[in-house]
């Protein structure tokens, strides 16, 4: 790629970062031109976060030099980076839920200007000006916590713009957005580029942002392994560069089980969430449930495991009715549920892998009131080996694991209980590409072993790769049923949005 390197907004050369004996980055060159959008791709642990932290001044490089706007930056710290126009929008947006939209947008700028007094009117003026600049209308006085995720992200972008950002770095910008919101975001990115603002997308899910990007840089194990114009990359080649191997996603093929109905959901209804939901799940079948945010898919997932109490309807497993709204009863009927937000709903983060895996198995390993600890450890170790969890030991806390491995620990916990029906809500949210393919392998394998699996997801390639059948929800109702292998991702997306 022939960029006028002299005009580069950011020019990082030979950047190396070592933590003790571990090399996180090795001689990486990274440039961004004004108004350019760059995809920085890489799996967890590839060094992309480290590179960004160095650029934002949060970490100091061990070696290498950084120029911003042509000026060499020595001893870069967050304030200097911000003053030079480099703004990072973290995945959590780093906003203040209790403050108004206007204040969230204006506060950084006021602080940077060294103001001592706060002027609400001036803050609203600042906020109004940047919102107009990107052509978005969000009520200025609304409390941030009342906004949708997509609007919060826009507020974060506006905050960066209010500080005269010349480069906005967005960490995992599309993870929490629906398809429509992603398209709206891309429109705004185009607008910013026209205004001369450069954007770096940091993600392991980049196919969606390729359209608006000029350049792609892929990191793997701390080294730059690929760089080139965005139009020479596609989802498959990105994945190949990121993982260093081909990860072809195979579809599960037609359903080949016994056809015996395992779980039956009859006229399930919850006012305000979903209505008239009927479906059957066969032994050995992987069933997908999808829908846009707000379609009721999450409430339905929770209702199937008793976390939400439906108003009417029935759920039966093997012909036996399961009491509604009672997670204990659902677990006793051997339904397993892996939540969407494993960090807050699924795991005891600070506790060991062993405890996390075996927490549902304490009863089974009780001997006259005492725990049979060796048996517990053996069982946990067995599952970790089968699910290929990468961990130093079963005593390590779960929070020390990567997203993919954490998800496997949650899976191991439920599999240890030998469930008949396993409900997976967003099984690969926040998981890198390589682990994702392996989790999909696990899901297909579970189906083949005779479990009934329900995958609830808005990740369409994931559904196509794992499910025999896909149910589409809209406005709380099942509106479509699609057999596996009959649709492409684009067709599925259209049927979802129509």
């Amino acid at each position: 790629m022939n960029l006028p390197e002299t005009g580069a907004l950011v020019d990082m050369r030979g950047v190396t970062k070592r933590y003790g004996g571990v090399t996180a980055l090795e001689g990486v060159d990274f440039t961004v031109a004004p108004g350019q959008a760059v995809c920085l791709a890489g799996e967890n642990g590839s060094g992309k976060s480290t590179l960004i932290k160095i650029l934002a001044g949060v970490e100091r490089p061990t070696e290498g030099e950084i120029r911003i706007g042509g000026k060499p930056m020595t001893g870069l710290d967050p304030r200097k980076a911000a003053a030079a126009g480099v703004m990072v929008i973290y995945q959590d947006f780093s906003l203040f839920p209790n403050l108004s939209v206007a204040e969230n947008i204006a506060m950084s700028r006021d602080l940077n200007a060294g103001r001592r007094f706060f002027d609400r009117r001036a803050a609203q003026g600042t906020a109004r000006a940047v919102l107009d600049r990107i052509g978005v209308d969000i009520p200025l006085k609304a409390r941030l916590e009342t906004l949708s995720v997509a609007h919060k992200q826009l507020v974060a972008i506006c905050r960066a713009l209010a500080c005269e950002a010349r480069l906005i770095i967005m960490d995992e910008p599309t993870t929490a957005l629906t398809g429509r919101e992603v398209r709206a975001l891309l429109g705004i990115i185009r607008l910013l580029k026209d205004q001369g603002v450069a954007v770096v997308f940091v993600s392991h899910k980049l196919a969606e942002v390729l359209d608006v990007s000029e350049k792609v840089v892929v990191l793997r194990n701390g080294c730059k392994v690929a760089e080139g114009p965005a139009n020479t990359f596609d989802a498959a080649s990105l994945t190949r560069h990121m993982t260093g191997r081909d990860v072809p996603e195979i579809s599960p093929g037609p359903y080949a089980g016994s056809g015996e109905t395992l779980m039956k959901v009859d006229r399930l209804q919850k006012s305000g969430a979903f209505a008239d939901v009927n479906f059957g799940l066969r032994r050995g079948e992987v069933l997908g449930v999808t829908g846009l945010l707000g379609s009721g898919r999450t409430s339905l997932a929770k209702a199937l495991f008793g976390l939400v109490r439906p108003d009417t309807g029935s759920i039966t497993v093997d012909g036996h009715p399961v009491p509604l709204g009672d997670p204990m009863a659902a677990a006793a009927a051997r339904i397993g549920y892996v939540p969407e937000d494993r960090l807050t709903e699924g795991l005891f983060l600070a506790q060991s892998i062993l405890r996390n895996v075996t927490v549902g198995r304490l009863g089974a390993h009780e001997r006259i009131g005492f725990l049979d600890r060796p048996a517990l450890e053996n069982e946990a170790q067995g599952w970790l080996t089968r699910l290929k969890v990468k961990a130093s030991s079963i005593a390590a806390p779960v929070q020390s694991l990567s997203g993919g491995n954490q998800q496997r620990v949650v899976l191991a916990r439920w599999l240890a209980r030998a469930p008949r029906v396993l409900i997976l809500n967003g099984p690969s949210v926040g998981v890198d590409v390589g682990s994702k393919a392996e989790i999909h392998d696990i899901i297909r394998d579970l189906g083949a072993k005779g479990l009934g699996v329900i995958v609830i997801s808005d990740d369409l390639p994931e559904l196509i790769a794992t499910c025999h059948r896909i149910l589409v929800m809209k406005g709380g109702r099942m509106v479509d049923e699609i057999a596996s292998g009959t649709v492409s991702e684009d067709e599925l997306a259209q049927r979802l949005a129509s």
């Binding site: 506060m107 001592r116 706060f118 969430a273």
Partner: protein, 328 residues
């Protein structure tokens, strides 16, 4: 409309209004200038303490040591005056108490902002330490012979008199102290970047750090300011009660925090209004002083206050949960 209804302020104001209606129905003498001036007087110390506690809650912390700070500052200032300069002007005695309070607050601030320790743990510790230190090293006898200037202050009235109906009323100058605290705190919270930083801190410490707020300095200020307010409240309490009692005030901290929480401040930080806090104080003072008027035995005080807290904080939380369930 629903936004207004779901606010704690509205709820507390409605309860206060209901209370007053019931009280004046059961006792025609309740709704008089005398009662009002009594209630106002009783609200001064509690109100100042509550404003300090609110600031701490907004910043995302909790302070349970402020009563010990208040009583220590009051007693130390009084005793210093009596020992070294019995005729010390009341302004100076007040200043001494406020500075002592700020100093003790700075100790809280040092542990919390400096060493990053949890606020509840630190202030639970200093609550005991401050009070123990006071009783062991400064003194444990009640002093009723206050410096003459302090007695003088307690007799200074903004207004006093008798209404045509024969009801006696008086508004002491300490009420002006409460008003001053309210104005100063309102200005800090809403007109300065420091105040906005306190709100930001309570919203998200990590985000505050990322946008360049000096988290430690802001926290340190909060505890010093809360300490200074406690010092002021303490000396007002001493001079209005015309006695420096080292055993007083401690034990009130939960009532004060209850008032602040009733007024809509959240324990998770980031939320709280002065209006709400004052309404909360008003309600607590009403319950403490006038429950007996509407025929409820005074032993029911704590039950009532507890029930009000459950209602006042539980109702908005329940509404939020229902709203969340509807979104799904």
């Amino acid at each position: 409309m629903t936004a207004l209804l779901s606010r704690n302020e509205t709820l507390v104001a409605v309860v206060i209004a209901l209370f007053c209606i019931v009280a004046s129905l059961s006792d025609p003498n309740f709704f008089t200038v005398t009662t009002l001036s009594d209630l106002l007087r009783a609200s001064i110390v509690l109100g100042i303490l509550a404003v300090g506690a609110m600031l701490v809650l907004i910043s995302g912390g909790i302070d349970v040591s402020f009563t010990a700070v208040a009583v220590s500052a009051m007693y130390i200032a009084t005793k210093t005056a009596l020992t070294f300069w019995p005729d010390m002007p009341w302004q100076l005695i007040f200043m001494l108490s406020i500075l002592t309070g700020a100093g003790l607050g700075a100790i809280n601030g040092l542990f919390i902002a400096g060493f990053g320790l949890p606020t509840l743990i630190v202030t639970l510790g200093t609550l005991s330490v401050f009070r123990g230190f006071l009783l062991t090293f400064v003194g444990s006898e009640r002093i009723s012979a206050l410096p003459p200037e302090m007695r003088e202050f307690s007799r200074m009235m903004i207004a006093r008199g008798t209404t045509q109906g024969g009801d006696f009323y008086s508004l002491p100058w300490s009420l002006a102290a409460l008003a001053g605290v309210i104005v100063l705190t309102a200005v800090i919270l809403h007109k300065t970047m420091l105040g906005r930083s306190i709100f930001a801190l309570g919203g998200s410490v990590e985000s505050a750090r990322r946008i360049g707020i000096d988290v430690r300095r802001t926290q340190f200020f909060v505890y010093v300011y809360a300490g200074a307010l406690a010092g002021l409240a303490g000396i007002l309490h001493g001079s209005m009660g015309r006695m420096a009692d080292p055993f007083s005030l401690v034990g009130l901290e939960l009532s004060v925090i209850a008032a602040v929480v009733l007024g809509g401040a959240r324990l998770i930080g980031g939320y709280g209004t002065i209006t709400g806090t004052l309404l909360g104080v008003g309600l607590i003072v009403l319950v403490q002083n006038s429950l007996i008027v509407i025929g409820i035995p005074s032993t029911w005080q704590s039950v009532t206050i507890g029930a009000l807290i459950l209602l006042g904080t539980g109702l908005p939380a329940w509404q939020a949960k229902r709203a969340a369930a509807r979104e799904g």
